[in-house]
């Protein structure tokens, strides 16, 4: 079964996303900031990443760039409260394959993950 890396500084969000994904049969790895995300990506080689943007230590856009630099085929979707048009553009330009603005329904998350893993 596919492994998804869930990156968010809020324990509540990690818990919620993990629950949605686990119930749909995915394996979940969690990270709580950008640095943690890059390390876990290198360590667990997940099939896809759900990445928050606003995080301490290293934000999600920077982590996205580092992960893509390490693995140009990395499949990352941003899941963030930060929905300004300029930021969406930057994420897409940096290689994000999808951009979900929080809060998002479980169905929306699963649809995005499904698309990523396809």
């Amino acid at each position: 079964m596919a492994t998804i890396l869930v990156v968010d500084d809020a324990a509540f969000m990690r818990m919620r996303m993990s629950k949605i994904l686990a119930e749909a049969g995915y394996e979940v790895v969690q990270a709580e900031n950008g640095i943690d995300a890059v390390q876990k990506y290198k360590g667990s080689r997940p099939d896809a990443v759900l990445m928050d943007i606003t995080m301490p230590e290293m934000d999600g856009l920077t982590a996205l760039k580092e992960i893509r630099a390490h693995d140009p085929s990395a499949r990352v979707a941003m899941v963030t409260a930060l929905g300004q048009q300029q930021i969406v553009l930057e994420a897409v330009k940096s290689g994000a394959r999808d951009f979900l603005v929080k809060p998002c329904e479980g169905d929306r998350v699963l649809a995005a993950v499904s698309k990523l893993c396809a």
Partner: protein, 200 residues
């Protein structure tokens, strides 16, 4: 502040605030699984701490979060919820029966932080998109304190920069009409001129 700048700022922020309120309302409703109405925010120049009335008065204990805003415009964003309501929100967000969360533990604080992040970001996004500027809210800092202590601290920070205090404050209500929370958004006075430039 001269009258023309004041008018432009109030006008801009009123439009932004309305858009932000709609976005935030959607966000809140989605998170809670119930309709939350956000009142059309009042944009006040030189306002003061009477915002606390919305959360049960100056002395009331509130749970919420502070986000500092940086990027093209810097400033402060703060979400405050009367503590009882905050814990109810946590129950709703976690899909628990109301009354389950009796005290703010780590997970409850994280949930409130995330709620504040989502609602605060909705307003920041509206401000960013409206002005064409890029704004970054910080990760939320959880607050659990006397309401007026928090509000006056933001107010003092802005005043100390020698400018005018411009604050958007708005109140959330659920379908029963009970107050669910208070949002304060205050740009740094040094950024007000930039805000005026980029007002559509």
């Amino acid at each position: 502040m001269n009258a023309s700048l004041a008018e432009t700022i109030t006008g801009t922020l009123s439009r932004v605030a309305r858009d932000g309120a709609v976005r935030a309302g959607r966000g809140l409703s989605g998170l809670m699984g119930q309709e939350i109405t956000i009142h059309i925010p009042s944009v006040r120049i030189g306002t003061k701490a009477d915002a606390c009335d919305a959360v049960g008065g100056e002395e009331s204990i509130v749970l919420g979060a502070y986000l500092s805003m940086s990027g093209d415009i810097s400033g402060h964003v703060m979400l405050l919820f009367p503590i009882g309501r905050a814990l109810e929100c946590v129950d709703l967000m976690c899909g628990e029966a109301p009354g389950t969360t009796a005290e703010p533990d780590e997970l409850a604080e994280s949930a409130i932080g995330e709620l504040s992040n989502i609602v605060g970001s909705a307003f920041v996004n509206a401000l960013g998109d409206y002005t064409g500027l890029v704004l970054h809210p910080s990760p939320p800092v959880i607050l659990h304190d006397i309401a007026i202590a928090l509000v006056q601290s933001v107010y003092a920070e802005i005043l100390s920069q020698g400018g005018d205090v411009v604050m958007i404050d708005t109140v959330f209500e659920d379908t029963s009409g009970a107050t669910a929370g208070l949002l304060i958004l205050a740009p740094d006075p040094l950024c007000l001129a930039l805000l005026k430039e980029h007002a559509a």
